[in-house]
Symmetry: C2
Subunit: 374 residues, 2 copies
């Protein structure tokens, strides 16, 4: 076969829906020569990662680890471990990822109850309460805290109280919020929360931070039949990550764990609160600038996600052409709309390392140039 050339990717400013740009220290960690996944030194690194993840999830949950797959594997792990055939699950659907949760619930044999809202809006707690009242015994309620497809932020606390009241587990997708927008697992009493590494944590994609409360772990352990996934079975994974056991399950992605370790250290150095404040401040600055360009945000206050801003595309603008010009001429990646919003919005991410003033100023100037020319 033909000789394949060496990698030579362009240098991009990543302001789409993820991945975000990565700090040089994280790349350095990624390129650190590996040791074995059962080496005592690696086990120490796993402990550090668990402690740092507890910090960003704001939880004391012992089972707080990184699943060896991307954010979608985290979603699947969250669901397949606790949903058994016939279980009723209420899912808030206001974008692509609520739809994906629904699809996995179906594949678990769950009895799916969807609560839909317009894309870009949040789910009204009243509607969850109505469903809890009428759906019979509900095993779990699942919500997307940060809808990457729309830029909507879902308030969690009120729905969490309803879940406790009705004895349902609360499962929250925090893929686009963790590390940039407050995710208070213990205070909000979330039972299962998962994320991805490539958004506000600014680590390359490949791992899915996840945490299970004690009731969630009990639900996983007391299932009638084993979970349909062996790879994502948290009862086995817990024994691998537990300091006291370290029972071999699979080979952890060592380099990715090195990278996550360093990315989380950067979060710790900055401080979670300061980091979330930076995300809030920069999103406000971006929106003000977009409005000066006559671009309006899709999502109304107070449901705007600081990590991802969606803006409506003005009439007469060829959105794909603008994105392509940004990518090819300015080396800036932003995202288009998905599903119902395809062709109607741009999605501009300010996540982790990408949430910088320099990026905002550059993007606004570039967008201004392109829109003026057309």
């Amino acid at each position: 076969m033909e000789k394949i050339s060496a990698l030579n990717p362009p240098q991009r400013i990543l302001m789409g829906p993820g991945p975000s740009n990565v700090h040089p220290r994280v790349y350095q960690a990624l390129a650190t020569p590996i040791i074995g996944h059962l080496d005592p030194e690696f086990l120490n690194i796993m402990n550090d990662i668990q402690n740092l993840l507890r910090y960003v999830f704001q939880t004391k949950n012992p089972f707080t680890i990184a699943i060896s797959g991307t954010g979608s594997a985290g979603m699947e792990a969250a669901l397949v471990n606790v949903i058994e055939p016939g279980d009723t699950v209420i899912v808030g659907v206001n974008g692509v990822f609520g739809g994906r949760i629904s699809e996995i619930v179906r594949r678990c044999g769950g009895n799916l109850v969807q609560i839909k809202a317009a894309w870009g809006e949040a789910i009204d707690p009243q509607r969850i309460e109505d469903a809890l009242k009428t759906a019979g015994k509900v095993k779990a309620v699942s919500l997307v805290h940060a809808e990457t497809s729309t830029g909507a932020l879902q308030p969690i606390e009120e729905i969490s109280k309803l879940c406790k009241q009705y004895g349902a587990l609360l499962i929250v997708d925090a893929v686009t919020s963790l590390g940039g927008v407050p995710v208070k697992v213990d205070e909000w009493q979330i039972d299962i929360c998962y994320s991805g590494t490539q958004k506000c944590l600014s680590c390359p994609p490949g791992l899915a931070p996840i945490t299970f409360s004690e009731p969630a772990l009990i639900a996983a352990r007391n299932r009638k039949n084993k979970a349909q996934s062996w790879y994502l079975d948290v009862t086995l994974i817990a024994d691998y990550w537990a300091d006291s056991k370290r029972a071999y399950h699979h080979t952890a992605p060592i380099s990715m764990n090195y990278a996550l370790h360093e990315a989380l250290r950067l979060v710790q150095e900055e401080g979670l609160e300061a980091r979330c404040e930076r995300h809030r401040r920069n999103a406000a600055e971006l929106i003000a600038g977009l409005q000066r360009l006559n671009l309006s945000p899709l999502v109304a206050e107070p449901h705007r996600l600081p990590s991802l801003t969606s803006v409506k595309i003005p009439a007469g603008v060829e959105e794909a052409k603008v994105r392509k010009t940004l990518l090819i001429e300015y080396n800036i990646e932003i995202g288009g709309g998905l599903g119902d919003l395809a062709g109607k919005i741009w999605r501009i991410g300010l996540m982790g390392e990408s949430s910088r003033k320099a990026n905002i100023v550059y993007l606004l100037a570039a967008l201004g140039e392109i829109l003026q020319k057309k």
Copy 2:
């Protein structure tokens, strides 16, 4: 919380059952700044990876990609896509990984027929034929080409002919062989073959190369119900990797794919045949040296795996202590036995970059010193 210190792992010579040492060029690729997973330039890299994987799998299968998880995710993807509830599956079990395949078949609701052999031996084709004759309609036969828990190499061709004769799919675990021991997917008519990156390909762990034949893809597409895993559903993953579609499924682990790209380029530069010959030659040299130390291989010829040699532990030797001394004092990692072979064997890997004369000479000298002292 306490400030977590920077990574500072020791430098190890990895001669265990995997991971193996990684070439500096692969680390450089790993640390290359990422671009978006839907960036046109990344799509070109995905194409390169598919072409290079077809080269190492020796196949023309269009669906030849890297699953976004470790080798065990590859195993799960191989099984959950084609095994439906009630399907009869014959599994060769002569070590840990045949046991793991069995466990996943059970979780698919499959009707499991195990053909067992002593750990360290290969599965006799006659016994597979007997099972095919008596088990009714058989959906698939699954074999472990290279049993990482024992160091046994399973001949495939004869059993493959039986599978064709009886209309069963052949699923082969090549985790510890691909890239170091010939794996001839097309010539041997394997329907599904999967591997891991961290063995003979000498890339860090985190991806699972996999290939599906046309009949295997048809089986996945014609299922009565959707596969129980959304994350590993090859009908969706195929649309993501297909050059004509690139339908978003999940965010590919970009950095790991960069690393795999470079690791596969190294295989291409060396040439697959020369690489397999190097693995054979070095294994023979290792075994000769071990025999000079009065250590006998567990596996009889011709079933010894060039990538992993298991040796019996002499009476009176505290095996864990020897391994610990090798690790701490010599920075060499080798593996112990698993399951039935715990405490009875050492597993010495010579995989990819680790399969080097210098490593063999150093390990033999170190082992000689340690065994003499005791």
